[in-house]
């Protein structure tokens, strides 16, 4: 992990002191409500439907076990005993009191954590591959580059008042687990000989007008990363729309101008600043790389592979978990283990303080003291020794964290919806509970295979419904909650946006409609064909006909 220096700690402490001072001046009436809002947003503090909400940054989803314990302490001390993992790999607390927030931030600063730029019209927390440094298909570990971007973007003097929020994602693997095509800037690490560089995408995003990002540069040598990002940001800062909140994201600027003209402007800006803008020194990125070393070799005698194989043979429940919830590690002595946070006990992505503490202890014992959050609102232990898998699985089972549903129907992405969010038009949590209850037969889930269900409570699309195999968007009509279904969205290497199934449905018809869609899939699929492949082959019409035929009859 990135190791904080005295410089970093000094910065964080003074940032907390600055925010404490701003909060006190707001309480004294010296800063008006609107200005305080802007200042608190840049420190992660929203005011939601019931109470303030504090969003704490988890840079590129990477946490130490001590940081996890600190997050548990925050949940216990200043919240109602839980936190919520977001689709941007951060954690949200729904019940802090505003006057306590400087204390919370001060406490978090002691474990090198903060809430800087987790909201506001500025550069947000950089997200990345939750399997970074462990995945078999990795070209290069993206985390040193993410850390570079984090430091560069933190309180960037020029880009703190952008037309709208700005999100950057980085992947270093062949398979994109960071959804780089739906970010304002997406970066794909590429190797050319010994040189690291990036394919740069721009103008992706979900929300009201979803766009898939366009390639602005096939290859950018890594040393130019910050100057090139600066050029994109400068063009956007000067030319992005500020008259309409819904047309202010960079995706609209790129779409209006066209990617070719946008590229010309960025390249011209970049060329012209080349002699006055610093480049990334090789020593800088090397020093950052040294902070993310590969995991040490597994200690002790090598596990006899046949032991695990025998176990997999003899224990079908363990076997199922192993196949669904774990992934290959580049070190064959290790395995990557997912902890899905989706079950019928609590809302998607929620963790109690007790669970956070227990998970932190498990991370110490089984995963080299570190863990990751994913944009699917799950957790990952990236470096588990194969010899420990059975013991870890047993412990996860008792905690309800071994449900073999990763990437399956009940592993939904769900925004907080009407229950918490003041923007939402419709509830999402009830729908989530209904899906968990209706589809609790694990064999049926495995028969359906990999499928993503993503639910947003409004057009802002925090639940990423556009890129779900089944997307569900909550809308409000005549004071009632309705749900618009889409099919065929995808977030991986070739991202695509879902197509509308038909008219919005009232809440009680959503689960039956999902049921129908699944039945059509099961009767239509060719051998071995995934849900996404079937939808691509036959389109949405066959699904539409059946879902809406029932209604007409």
């Amino acid at each position: 992990m990135y190791r904080y220096t005295e410089h970093d700690r000094g910065f964080l402490k003074s940032r907390v002191a600055e925010f404490r001072d701003q909060t006190e001046r707001w309480q004294a009436g010296e800063i008006d409500e609107d200005e305080y809002k802007q200042l608190r947003l840049r420190n992660g503090l929203y005011v939601q439907r019931h109470a303030p909400m504090l969003r704490v940054a988890i840079p590129y989803g990477q946490l130490s076990s001590d940081q996890m314990r600190a997050l548990a302490h925050v949940a216990r001390t200043w919240d109602k005993g839980y936190g919520h993992i977001t689709t941007r790999q951060n954690i949200q607390y729904n019940w802090p009191e505003i006057p306590d927030v400087p204390d919370i931030l001060d406490y978090l600063a002691d474990v090198d954590m903060h809430a800087i730029q987790t909201s506001g019209n500025c550069i947000r927390n950089t997200t990345s591959d939750p399997l970074a440094g462990a995945a078999e298909d990795e070209v290069e570990d993206p985390r040193p580059w993410c850390e570079l971007i984090r430091q560069w973007s933190t309180l960037h003097p020029e880009f703190n008042w952008l037309p709208r929020k700005f999100k950057i994602a980085v992947t270093g693997a062949e398979s994109d687990r960071a959804a780089v095509q739906i970010h304002d800037i997406g970066l794909r690490l590429i190797k050319r000989g010994s040189e690291s560089g990036f394919e740069v995408l721009v103008g992706g995003g979900l929300g009201r007008t979803p766009h898939i990002g366009s390639v602005i540069r096939d290859y950018l040598p890594g040393k130019h990363l910050l100057s090139y990002l600066s050029a994109i940001l400068r063009v956007y800062n000067l030319e992005g729309r500020r008259d309409n909140l819904y047309k202010a994201r960079i995706k609209i600027l790129v779409a209006t101008m066209g990617i070719d003209q946008f590229r010309e402007k960025v390249e011209a800006e970049w060329q012209a600043s080349s002699d006055t803008v610093s480049e990334v020194q090789a020593s800088t990125i090397d020093a950052l790389r040294a902070m993310f070393p590969p995991p040490p070799p597994v200690p002790g005698p090598a596990l006899d592979a046949s032991d695990l194989d025998a176990r997999l043979e003899s224990d079908p429940i363990f076997g199922q978990w192993y196949r669904v919830n774990t992934r290959g590690h580049r070190d064959t002595g290790r395995r990557i283990v997912y902890l899905p946070l989706k079950n019928d006990e609590r809302p998607a992505g929620d963790l109690t303080d007790t669970m956070m503490d227990v998970i932190a202890d498990l991370a110490d014992r089984y995963a080299l003291g570190e863990l990751r959050t994913t944009h699917d609102q799950n957790l990952v232990f990236a470096h588990v020794a194969r010899a420990d898998l059975v013991a870890l699985w047993r412990e996860l089972r008792t905690l309800g964290l071994a449900t073999p549903n990763l990437g399956h129907l009940t592993d939904m992405i769900v925004c907080p919806g009407l229950d918490f969010c003041s923007l939402a038009n419709a509830g999402t949590l009830t729908l989530y509970d209904q899906v968990q209850a209706r589809f609790d037969d694990i064999d049926y889930l495995h028969d359906i295979g990999e499928i993503s269900v993503k639910v947003s409570g409004c057009m802002n699309a925090c639940g990423h419904h556009h890129i779900g195999d089944i997307g569900i968007l909550g809308v409000e009509k005549h004071g009632k909650e309705w749900y618009q279904l889409t099919l065929g969205g995808h977030a991986g290497n070739a991202a695509s946006l879902g197509k509308r199934l038909g008219k919005a449905l009232p809440q009680h018809e959503v689960i039956p409609a999902i049921d129908t869609v699944l039945n059509v899939y099961l009767s239509t699929r060719l051998h071995g064909e995934s849900f996404a492949q079937t939808v691509r082959r036959v389109g949405v019409t066959p699904f539409q006909e059946v879902v809406y035929a029932v209604k007409v009859a």
Binding site: E18, L39, W152, H156, N237, R242, V277
Partner: protein, 154 residues
Amino acid sequence: MPLKLRDGKLVSHECTDQDDVLCLLQLQEQHPHSAQAVRLNPEDNALALQPWIRTLSRIDVTYPAYTDGRAHSQARLLRQRLGFAGEIRAVGDVRIDQISMMIRCGINAFECFDADTETGIASAQLCHLSALYNNRYQPEYPSVSTLLTDTVFQ
């Protein structure tokens, strides 16, 4: 009374110059040879000032709202690209908590909507943060404390 960064402090700056401040369009249409002060609106292209950059002693950049960050980039372009060494004055909705970032972008004078804000700014601490991140990798955005000791823009 506008404030100007001088010897590491923001000091009130007597308007003895009584500058005649033109807007960019006037500059472009009238081509005066001796223009000293010009005002950029947020939508103006700062680089259009190139032909006059040697004669200008003051350029105003405007903040219709403190949340509008275009003038930050304009100031950077004036300093970085055009090498402008004179006064860049932030005019409009200028707030205390934004001063340090403005300074780091190259702004060195401030003229607020109201005198109270200016008085507040003059007595405020300019540099809350003991250290910064982004100038580790982009020293072209120096910290305020560096600016105050080096008096870069004086």
